[in-house]
Amino acid sequence: MAGKSRISRDEVARIAALARITLGDDELTHLAGQIDGILDAVAVVQEAAGTDVPAMSHPLEISNVTRPDLIRPSLTPEEALSGAPASEESRFRVPQILGEEA
């Protein structure tokens, strides 16, 4: 199985851009190889199920797990914001969004 996937440097750069992570040239080359290795390792799973096994998204054969439309207590704003690195006016404060467009 080894070496079956081929993730190009360009693909790594694209994924990094979507994840808003800046990567240098050497990192792109390094990661392209690493991601190949990871995908090869995960690809082993594909051998476990034959073509007769349907794809599934949930381990249990159940559906319609729902709840009635009844209000439950929410967190207080203080609790909600307690883990935030920064907050202001009861809101989460985050760095400039989409810096590339500013």
Binding site: N64, T66, I71, A80, R91, R93, V94, P95, I97
Partner: protein, 500 residues
């Protein structure tokens, strides 16, 4: 030189795709029990689930599924026997989870249609808008951009996030490509959103308030040379927050595209933002491609498999279709086609119906909503339904006129005062001391004064020249500060001058 719209449609064929997002009016969010009250203080309606905290597990709101199925049925869709949720992954802080739970390749409703009527040069014409899909997802949080230009994302130094709205059930209704509308594309787009809004309102599944964002429309527009049989590159305009804006945005984008194509330039596939003040659009972030969202089935939720018996029960309980209801009311109120169209166009049908239900005569109710109140709404550039006068208040005014306590002229003053926020009709009348001068002796005194002041005019009337009476009646109305009943004044005046 800016192109004229006529010039554009003479050479290009528009295609539309409309995506409407509607916030459901459930008590709680899509996947957790947080309340969904509009305008609540920031971050008072959040919990570990909608804040995306590790280990928190979502559970689907049953009412939201029911509402979505009802929407699908009302739009003549097929209900998918088993549909699933999917994660739409993206890095943007309006969702704390780094993904939005949505539906991707298995939406709950598919393949429907909605017929809309548009006034064309050849009279009213029905356009069938085909619905591609109706799916469930969750709304995102609200960002406040601080620094730089006010409230704008460009140049902002940082952003503040309120997650009260994050997780509110959102239903997305997507049309197939709408073509063959020709020059009527802007009107068809508006009529579609309006008809859809009426249906959603009749179903009672949403507040459908465009100005509060509970109904939002994204308009995809593309142009191709007439007869080319091709589809041009589309732009997607967001932030279209009123019916009027839907029409303006589509027309504006058609003209902008044509300008680019005429110069041999390319239309860029991108998201644009509608500017309410100028009616133009501004470029937004470049659109990520579907594959960039890396959709995959949501592992924390089980499939939705609505029972066929339940679906049929929901179908049998659907309310009267707005188009059917309009036809019924038209017959009931005996309104001519043209007047009914005007009423529909002005969004007055519900208002008139409520006013009539409160006891007002249909013709009088219609007269007020389509006349004075529409005029004031136009002046303020707002929708008729947003004018701050209620059917109850209009019904009361009609009642007071009927009882002889208001003249039409005085009633117009009362309407204007009610809309200006001075109180309900009775308190406006009390506060302003408005009353019809029905005391005949004071009317007769005013009439005698008018005759004495204008002896020549009075003589003409005596000699049978009735149109001259207008000047005398005017003088009486002025004398009584408009509070007299003009018809009664005329009667008394003509009596005085021997012409009764």
């Amino acid at each position: 030189m800016a192109l004229s719209y006529d010039d554009v449609v003479a050479r290009y064929e528009p295609s539309l795709g409309l995506e409407v997002h509607v916030e459901l009016n459930t008590e709680t969010k899509m996947f957790c029990g947080c309340a969904t009250v509009f305008g609540a203080p920031p971050n008072t309606q959040t919990c570990p689930v909608c804040l995306g905290m590790p280990g928190a597990l979502p559970m689907v709101n049953e009412k939201a599924i029911e509402s979505t199925i009802r929407i699908g049925l009302a739009l003549n869709c097929a209900i998918t026997p088993k549909s699933r949720f999917a994660r739409k992954n993206y890095f943007y802080p309006d969702m704390p989870k780094n993904f939005q739970i949505s539906q991707y390749d298995e939406p709950i409703c598919t393949n429907g249609y909605l017929d809309v009527e548009v006034e064309t040069d050849e009279g009213a014409k029905t356009f069938r808008i085909e619905i591609e899909r109706v799916h469930m997802e969750e709304d995102t949080g609200k960002s406040l951009h601080v620094g730089g230009a006010t409230g704008r994302i460009h140049g902002a130094e940082y952003s503040l996030l309120d997650y009260n709205r994050a997780g509110i059930p959102l239903v997305e209704i997507v049309t197939k490509v709408v073509s063959s509308t020709g020059k009527y594309a802007p009107e068809v787009a508006k009529a579609y959103v309006k008809e859809l809004r009426d249906i959603l309102r009749s179903l009672g599944v949403s507040d459908v308030k465009m100005e509060q964002g509970s109904l939002r429309c994204d308009a995809n527009v593309s142009l191709a040379p007439i007869g080319s049989g091709k589809l041009g590159t589309r732009s997607e305009t967001k932030n279209v927050n009123s019916l009027r804006s839907v029409e303006r945005a589509v027309r504006g984008e058609m003209i902008r595209h044509a300008g680019l194509l005429d110069k041999g330039e390319r239309v860029v596939q991108e998201t644009r933002h509608f500017q309410e003040d100028t009616g133009a659009t501004r470029s937004g972030r470049s659109k990520e491609q579907a594959e960039d969202y890396r959709y995959f089935p949501e592992p924390d939720l089980t499939p939705v498999a609505p029972d066929a018996t339940w679906i049929e029960k929901l179908r049998s309980e659907l309310p009267e279709k707005p188009s059917v209801r309009r036809a019924r009311l038209q017959a009931l109120w005996q309104v001519p086609d043209k007047e009914m169209a005007a009423m529909v166009n002005a969004g007055a049908v519900d208002l008139v119906e409520e006013t009539v239900a409160l006891g007002a005569d249909p013709t009088k109710a219609r007269g007020w909503w389509l006349g004075e109140i529409s005029r004031l709404a136009n002046e303020a550039e707002v929708e008729l339904s947003s004018v701050s006068i209620s059917p109850k208040e209009v019904a009361r005014i009609v009642e007071l006129i009927g009882a002889g306590e208001l003249t039409d002229k005085l009633a117009r003053q009362v309407v204007a005062a009610v809309i200006a926020g001075e109180g309900d009709p009775d308190s406006v009348i009390a506060a302003k001391g408005i009353k019809v001068v029905s005391d005949e002796s004071s009317l007769i005194a005013a009439i005698e004064k008018a005759i004495a002041d204008q002896p020549e005019t009075a003589e003409k009337v005596r000699n049978g020249h009735l149109p001259a009476a207008g000047a005398l009646i005017g003088a009486v109305m002025k004398e009584t500060k408009g509070q007299a009943d003009a018809a009664r004044v005329r009667e008394l005046l003509l009596g005085q001058l021997g012409q009764a």
